[in-house]
Assembly symmetry: C2
Homo-oligomer: 208 residues x 2
DNA sequence: TGACCTTTGGCACTGAGTGCCTTTAGTGTC
DNA sequence: GACACTAAAGGCACTCAGTGCCAAAGGTCA
């Protein structure tokens, strides 16, 4: 019998959660590396069956992704709410910066997560599939603003390019323990615009 | 005994070639789909051992990639040879268009290849790893031209963005049996530049 | 013929992911 | 308390990709 107003869920209760499995798994990844950790390792460490693991995550590759869907909803909402008079690319730039804002207490965890996703080849590959949803959010926005179909060349091009910019900024962020992600994303977007704008406006430091 | 001036190679002769395996595999992919084709299928069809397959390709995912390395060398050469007074992004645009020029007789094969790479999720994912080399060619060029380090934010951002543009153009090309790849690549690059240039210069057709 | 070299491919193994089916831990009802 | 009902858990067996090891095959040259 349920004493709360919430209707009690039928059937056996879930024994663990994505978040808990994520923690257990990350612990192992830290010690043994991603490739060096088997699903069995994770299942044993979490005290569940191997088969059960796959009821929480479709694959080992999805573990580092947490609740990406929810984040996407946030970005979608942000773009929908942004004033229509803002220039298209400015809106996108601000959306991307906002989307990737992380509360300071979560920063360490976010770093760990992204270090895996962008550092481990298998995950790097797998990420392409997850990014598709992210790109579609941008593409839909561009489509709506420009009147192009959302699978048309322009919206897709902008979406793909913006994803690239974001990834490049993330990689820089991971290279430096004290880098500022928001700044990097903003700079990357502006640099690309500048590169298109007037030839080579940027000969800053000696390269190699 | 060798009658030609070419020194005969020592040891057992290779029994097949990447190109031949590629052909055999594509045949099967057409009939059974990529996922529906096992390495065993390919090996049997090619009359070789399963183990031998892996001496020609590091993985099933690499089969559709043909001789990508050689193509990359071509693009590298093109960029190295391009007049230094050309504006950076124009040079890159032309390099990308040139890199993706395919002789008419190879177009059908190239379509098949790209349909796999961009259409099958596993391959889509795997492609990320192959694209890394492509990106580096662009990044190195940008680095040299701008004086930034080649793993710096600007070169990497441009490289990632350009890759995105190219993929978006390819996807459009695959959607239409008679599309012109060079035109699409060129348009995609210019569209992105325009999007950065002046807000929304492009409200062309009704979207949805 | 025999020394030498390289490719081939068989065998056994690991590890991811899946389908099927039983068990377990909950619910509400009589 | 016994019962039907429900959903999660997880065991089992299987497929398939990929790898390490090693012996056999097919070439060269002296």
């Amino acid at each position: 019998m349920s004493t709360t107003g919430i209707p009690a869920q039928l059937g056996r209760r879930r024994i663990t959660s994505r978040a808990e499995l994520e923690h257990v798994a990350f612990e192992l990844f830290d010690r043994q590396g991603f490739e060096g950790t088997t699903i069995d390792d994770i299942a044993v460490a979490a005290g569940i069956g191997r088969r059960t693991f796959f009821r929480y995550f479709p694959s080992k590759n999805d573990v580092p992704w947490g609740n990406f869907e929810d984040e996407l909803d946030r970005m979608r909402g942000w773009l929908a709410a942004c004033p229509p008079q803002w220039p298209l690319m400015d809106a996108i730039r601000l959306a991307i910066v906002d989307f990737n804002k992380v509360p300071p207490e979560d920063e360490r965890w976010h770093r760990r997560r992204m270090q895996l996703i962008l550092g481990v080849p298998v995950l790097q590959a797998h990420s392409t599939l997850r990014y598709a949803e992210w790109r579609q959010v941008i593409a839909d926005f561009v489509a709506e603003r420009t009147g192009h179909p959302c699978d048309g060349l322009l919206p897709q091009t902008v979406a793909y390019a913006m994803l690239g910019v974001a990834i490049a900024a993330y990689e820089q962020w991971l290279q430096d323990d004290h880098g500022n992600l928001s700044e990097l994303l903003d700079t990357a977007m502006r640099d690309l615009a500048a590169a298109f704008g007037d030839g080579l406006p940027l000969r800053v430091e000696p390269g190699r």
